[in-house]
């Protein structure tokens, strides 16, 4: 037989445990929410992404492998969209409102060398504006699978 006192004690112990679990879960949640924007902060936040994309775009527009694919493109709008996209993907407080990667690139018939030319320009931009190599690779790891949608030939 379990006495009423023991039962009460068990119940309060259970309540304490539940509270502890909730607090722990909340703490983990808060920690991971903070961890989620480490990449964004590592990239130097939106202001640095603007610099990086300005610089990278200048390189892309003179790169013989890809410059022609920027014809008929509103460059300023393109840069803004790309900054929004990288900001959102890296965990920053932005929303990318453009088309998906397949839709926005399918008409260009890009090959893999052209995709890599884009990567190299972005890497040069990140080098130029002080993003560490390890942080660069964390961003590129998110972008790399887009190759499947962007490269269509």
């Amino acid at each position: 037989m379990i006495s009423e006192g023991t039962r009460q004690k068990n119940r309060s112990a259970l309540r304490t445990l539940l509270v502890a679990v909730c607090m722990f879960t909340a703490a983990i949640g808060a920690w991971s929410a903070r961890a989620d924007d480490t990449l964004y902060r590592g990239l130097g936040e939106r202001v640095n992404l603007v610099r990086i994309i300005d610089y990278a775009t200048d390189l892309w527009l003179i790169d013989a492998r890809i410059k022609d694919t920027f014809d008929n493109l509103n460059i300023e709008r393109f840069k803004g969209r790309l900054v929004d996209q990288l900001c959102e993907l890296s965990g920053g407080p932005c929303r990318y409102a453009g088309r998906n990667m397949y839709e926005s690139h399918k008409g260009l018939h890009l090959d893999r060398a052209q995709f890599n030319a884009l990567v190299e320009g972005l890497q040069d931009g990140m080098d130029k504006y002080g993003v560490s190599f390890r942080v660069q690779n964390r961003l590129l790891a998110i972008l790399a699978p887009m190759e499947h949608d962007i490269v269509t030939r």
């Binding site: 893999r112 060398a113 190599f133 390890r134 790891a141 790399a144 190759e147």
Partner: protein
């Protein structure tokens, strides 16, 4: 044995067929004229050249196809590697081509100079074993670089046909053949968010000391399954540091054969030139103990 060879050739031919669609593009869709020597891969993603001439690290063949050609192009390179050990010097030089990021073909010539140890071994000072290695590799599945959203590594199957020029000496030391074929399966995965490249290779081989001392022996004459692994940390676009481990058979009675290990630093000046410097521990070779030394390799190509 013959069955293994045929099975492997079939795998390579079928895999090579995968390269054909890249060549048979719908011309109407092509915006950019095809550049067959595009050097379009990202820096370092062609790897360097391993000891037997295959694209890889220093000791281990990787699943990456050598050179900087993308799947729309070809890449090629030449390398020279020099391994300075306490009792021996190994020279390895050769050429390799990567076809459409699908097939790799390589030729390598190794010269193993026994220097003063040649006298102790009864071969004469400076006695040199030489072997020619024809290699083929085909990428079967996966992409080590782009498939960052998948756990599937890039997997390749390869073979190395080795011909040693010292048939009589090989038989005198208990070896069985001066020619041999290795088969391997390599899996390579770039963990880009960690800047880490991991490779694991399984090799079927009868080679004694990579084939320098022939194939098969008086202790064990059959094929052995060996494991080869590499871990490489990318420090920058140009610099990588890594370690490799390679198990080897122990087929000969006259001398114990152990495993090989190296730590390396690879520097990619650009897509045309790379240099690799390593410390190698090759263990005992032909009764000479602890052959630990320096490995230096230069590769040029596109």
């Amino acid at each position: 044995m013959d069955k293994i060879v045929w099975a492997f050739l079939v795998v390579i031919v079928i895999g090579a067929g995968g390269a054909l669609p890249a060549m048979a593009e719908d011309a109407a869709l092509v915006v950019r004229p095809p550049d067959l020597t595009d050097s379009g891969k990202l820096l370092a993603t062609g790897g360097v050249t391993q000891l037997e001439g295959a694209g890889g690290g220093g000791l281990v063949p990787w699943a990456l196809i050598t050179g900087y050609g993308t799947r729309d192009a070809i890449g090629a390179n030449a390398h020279y590697t020099f391994v300075y050990l306490p009792q021996y010097i190994l020279h390895s030089g050769g050429v390799a081509v990567g076809l459409f990021d699908r097939v790799e073909l390589s030729y390598d010539r190794q010269a193993f100079d026994t220097r003063a140890a040649g006298v102790k071994l009864g071969l004469g000072s400076g006695f040199t074993f030489q072997q020619d290695i024809l290699g083929a590799k085909v990428r079967l599945v996966g992409d080590a670089v782009y498939d960052q959203d998948s756990w599937l590594p890039q997997i390749a199957a390869g073979t190395q046909y080795k011909m040693n020029n010292q048939n009589a000496v090989i038989h005198a030391i208990g070896g069985r053949d001066s020619k041999g074929v290795d088969f391997y399966l390599a899996a390579t995965k770039l963990f880009l968010s960690e800047s880490l490249l991991i490779n694991a290779t399984i090799r079927e081989t009868r080679a004694n000391q990579f084939g320098i001392l022939g194939f098969g022996g008086d202790k064990n004459n059959g094929y052995s399954t060996e494991f080869e692994g590499s871990a490489t940390l990318l420090l920058s676009r140009q610099l990588a540091v890594g370690a490799e481990f390679r198990t080897k058979p122990d087929n000969l009675k006259f001398a114990k054969e152990g495993h090989a290990f190296d730590v390396f630093l690879a520097y990619f000046f650009n897509k045309n030139v790379s240099a690799t410097l390593a410390f190698v521990a090759l263990g005992d070779i032909a009764t000479q103990r602890n052959q630990n030394g320096v490995y230096a390799s230069l590769q040029v190509g596109f």
